[in-house]
Symmetry: C2
């Protein structure tokens, strides 16, 4: 890597951390310069516009996602093991230390109407790729006889991803209702869950989906 | 309503519409004044700070949520009809015309780390109330014999809400992959769904959850 590439990569790492907390839109060349200890004009040399900064962050996040979630899972055995590997890798991804606010894509989807058009198009494309990868892994599991032939792979991929994203959102919310939160929020409730419980419940929901997906004679 | 209350209510309606697109954080007294055709100083008389503006928007959204989702459903028969009514009302809520960007709470949860502390606490409280209401309706359905006694009501409430929020997020994303989107995003894919299909798939997932929740002899 040249010095310029190294700086760009370090800055994008910091930007991903910020975007996971405040969204892509919340990361500005100003706040990023302060955090990265660079001058605003120095940063402008790397990212000439808000759109180019958001695209740079998104592209770096996609590169990491492919390296950390997709690539290792594609080495797993075809069928159910690969589907499980994809979901396991996604769960590790969503609690990566480099994203303190959680999955950057979930945050970005929530603000999608307010993103620059090119950024929005790239995000949609990347998420469709992810959904396709999951659906394709499920189709292979059907071919291998691990999942029922009459299963709608797109439906199952969408359902699994909805559960994962939904739990991720609700987990962010519920961890704020634990110790250290306000009196009012800590009022006694029947529904009070720790982040670990949320994750255990997501696991249970996915296990049930997997069990339901198996051919009837294998259950 | 006094003239002051009327203005406040009209401004909050506009603010909810904006927040559903850009998040609570994205609504500022400046942008709101322009849209509502009021002076910034006039608006300051109603909302003295960013925190008080965000709290005002959130409180108005909670009031509407209770009026449109909770209250009518509590009039439905105890048991499964009431659970179904809550979910049906939520789906109508999430596509209300007054929230062009979708459910304001889903957007707000995604930006939760970046909200003012009092706003965050109020959002957490309101969402815990909603989760409790759903779980309670499920417990009543268990008492009525509509759902199995050994069902974990909190688990089911969390799962249904995750599915709903996850589909809502992915629906916002996927509707951008239809006609009018960029060439690259429209590239042929196996996973391509219209918003109506997304909603039909959410319905199917919830129907399955309901069926699985029934006592075995009732299936």
């Amino acid at each position: 890597m040249t010095k310029g590439e190294e700086t760009r990569s370090a800055v994008l790492g910091e930007a991903i951390a910020q975007a996971s907390v405040v969204g892509l839109r919340g990361v500005t060349i100003g706040t990023l310069a302060t955090k990265a200890g660079l001058s605003k004009s120095g940063l402008f040399a790397h990212f000439r516009s808000k759109e180019s900064l958001q695209l740079g962050i998104l592209e770096e996040a996609i590169t990491r996602f492919i390296a950390l979630v997709i690539a290792p899972s594609l080495k797993e055995a075809r069928g159910k093991p690969r589907v499980a590997a994809l979901l396991g890798a996604w769960k590790r991804w969503a609690r990566s230390e480099f994203m303190p606010g959680g999955c950057i894509f979930v945050s970005a989807i929530a603000e999608i109407d307010d993103l620059e058009p090119a950024v929005r198009a790239r995000l949609v494309e990347a998420q469709l790729d992810w959904l396709d990868t999951l659906a394709q892994a499920i189709r292979i599991a059907q071919d291998e006889g691990h999942f029922r032939k009459d299963l709608d792979a797109t439906q199952m991929a969408l359902e699994v991803l909805s559960l994962a994203y939904g739990h991720h959102l609700l987990g962010r919310l519920l961890r704020l209702s634990g110790p250290g939160s306000s009196e009012r929020t800590r009022a006694p409730r029947r529904t009070s869950l720790s982040p670990a419980e949320i994750e255990a419940r997501l696991d249970r929901a996915i296990t049930r989906l997997f069990r339901d997906a198996q051919p009837r004679d294998a259950r």
